[in-house]
Symmetry: C2
Subunit: 315 residues, 2 copies
């Protein structure tokens, strides 16, 4: 028998001929064919893209390749300053991914951090910084999502990051979506330094929101963390040292020769193209026969592209 | 410096001393310490657990170990009947995992399904069955969740499966949460047979709901699929045959000698313990300093345990 055409990717099969209308969910009159996500991205004007900020982007070199992480100084300035200092001091070079818990997080840092005699010194980073769980909502350039988010009264995007907010408390915070990076802490809320980091590799654990400092987002290479073998029954920590994955190094792009930096651009989440992409997720076409008339901050990844005209850089 | 105590597992750090009250979000009077999830599970009476149904449970043997899948005959009777027939005929034995797309799905079936000359015959399974995207809501024993679900007006659990529903249309459907298993289809809605299956291995792609037939849920071993190397740029399909992961066999438990069947029990989602576990996720304690006063159908995995008194079965 003919093999079934494979399940079409949610990323690739958007809005081809969507004629399904918004929340009323009545059959709509045939609309003009909408652009697919790929078409929207291809048609995005240059002004809808932004460069990576070398002072706020980390390159983590794993044996299988690079992981790029954008930092969020607007949300966690003290942690980001510490992370910059740690990267400049080579803190993570030769350390390891210590923990991979399925449908939750991959976590890296100093395996000997608990042992004062063996722990690697933080160098110029500060040993004690405040928790940075949220920031004032007022003045934040939030591109709001109209869709209901069960976890927070308001949600949207800032600087490419998924953000939730509560007008009643006047606070906003980075949301624990797939690929977000946070700073592990102990029982004290101000016990994170940024030296131990984790990336979300499963369904968004939004229950962690407002409980831990989120410092950034993996913009390339998350699959190198999400496909690692899972650790043991102790919250995914590897039982044996030899199971850990060595980190070659973590550097700030600003500390690398310009020619060696990845030549990537990120779609601006305050752009018209981003708004159109979100709409294409709400109102599907092509393979889809039903549209959810809904999306959420953790449901869509922010696109990136090579810098136009750049030679492909080895990464 | 002392290593930070690792980020505490969302699975293990629930509700220790939660004193944070429900949606009003006012500081509540100190309440008596609540039980943790582990304590709730340990205290669950035997009646809150159910046995696996051998006629509706698949054992998929991968090189790294077994994956157990509970089928959902209430939601997809024709597909489940086909899947039983395919398993009995040894259809998947020696076939392969063909596709692993990061933050989306792992998919398995016949690599030669497109080639009529090479495709493996379906045996006693039917080549054409109807789409089974939803069922009548009326009469469905839905354990409702009070929490808002942005993707559907109503949500909850049936037979251990996450379910969404719309009273206006009178329909209910299995939701694409982490670990759910669906039947790949082509452009025609009735082009799935159950021969090509996928499991969700990322943030719930709820946009697929009502677009494809969902047939069950991985209840054990999802990490053997979610940690596989990701495929190429063509929607995660492996570019080379040698990248594919061979499936040793897929059998129905009913077709295995009783002594070889995994001796597992699943917590009933219509039990008091399950209600308490969901509540422990809404109102956190211990390590948590903020409670979301919210949960969702894709946020909590249904616990399993060895059958009390059973010898540990090799699995």
């Amino acid at each position: 028998m003919p093999k079934k055409t494979p399940l079409i990717s949610a990323l690739l099969a958007l809005g081809l001929s969507a004629a399904i209308a918004a929340p009323a969910k009545k059959p709509a009159a045939p609309a003009k064919p909408k652009k697919t996500s790929a078409e929207l991205i291809a048609a995005a004007p240059d002004g809808d893209w932004r460069a990576l900020d070398p002072g706020n982007t980390l390159l983590m070199e794993l044996p299988a390749g690079p992981v790029l992480i954008e930092l969020a100084p607007r949300f966690a300035p003290r942690h980001v300053a510490n992370i910059r200092a740690l990267a400049r001091g080579g803190f993570w070079d030769g350390l390891a991914v210590l923990r991979v818990q399925d449908n939750f997080v991959a976590q890296w840092g100093d395996p000997d951090g608990d042992d004062a005699a063996k722990a690697r010194p933080l160098g110029k980073a500060e040993a004690k910084i405040p928790a940075e769980f949220s920031v004032p909502l007022k003045g934040l350039p939030l591109t709001r999502l109209p869709d209901v988010d069960g976890w927070a009264p308001r949600s949207g995007f800032v600087d490419g990051f998924p953000v939730a907010a509560d007008p009643k408390t006047g606070r906003a915070w980075l949301a624990h979506c797939y690929g977000m990076v946070g700073a592990g802490r102990g029982n004290e809320v101000d016990s994170s330094t940024g030296a131990e980091l984790y990336a979300v590799i499963g369904h968004a654990p939004r229950g962690l929101d407002l409980n831990i400092t989120v410092v950034g987002r993996v913009i390339k290479g998350i699959e190198l963390l999400s496909s690692l073998p899972r650790g043991g029954s102790n919250m995914g920590f590897y039982d044996k040292p030899e199971q850990r994955l060595a980190i070659k190094q973590i550097r700030l792009l600003a500390d690398m020769p310009e020619a060696e930096r990845p030549a990537l651009q990120i779609l601006r989440t305050d752009s018209a193209t981003w708004t159109q992409l979100l709409d294409a997720r709400r109102h599907r076409g092509g393979w889809f026969v039903h549209s959810p008339a809904h999306t959420e901050i953790c449901s869509a990844g922010v696109p990136s592209r090579p810098v136009p005209g750049s030679a492909a850089k080895p990464q």
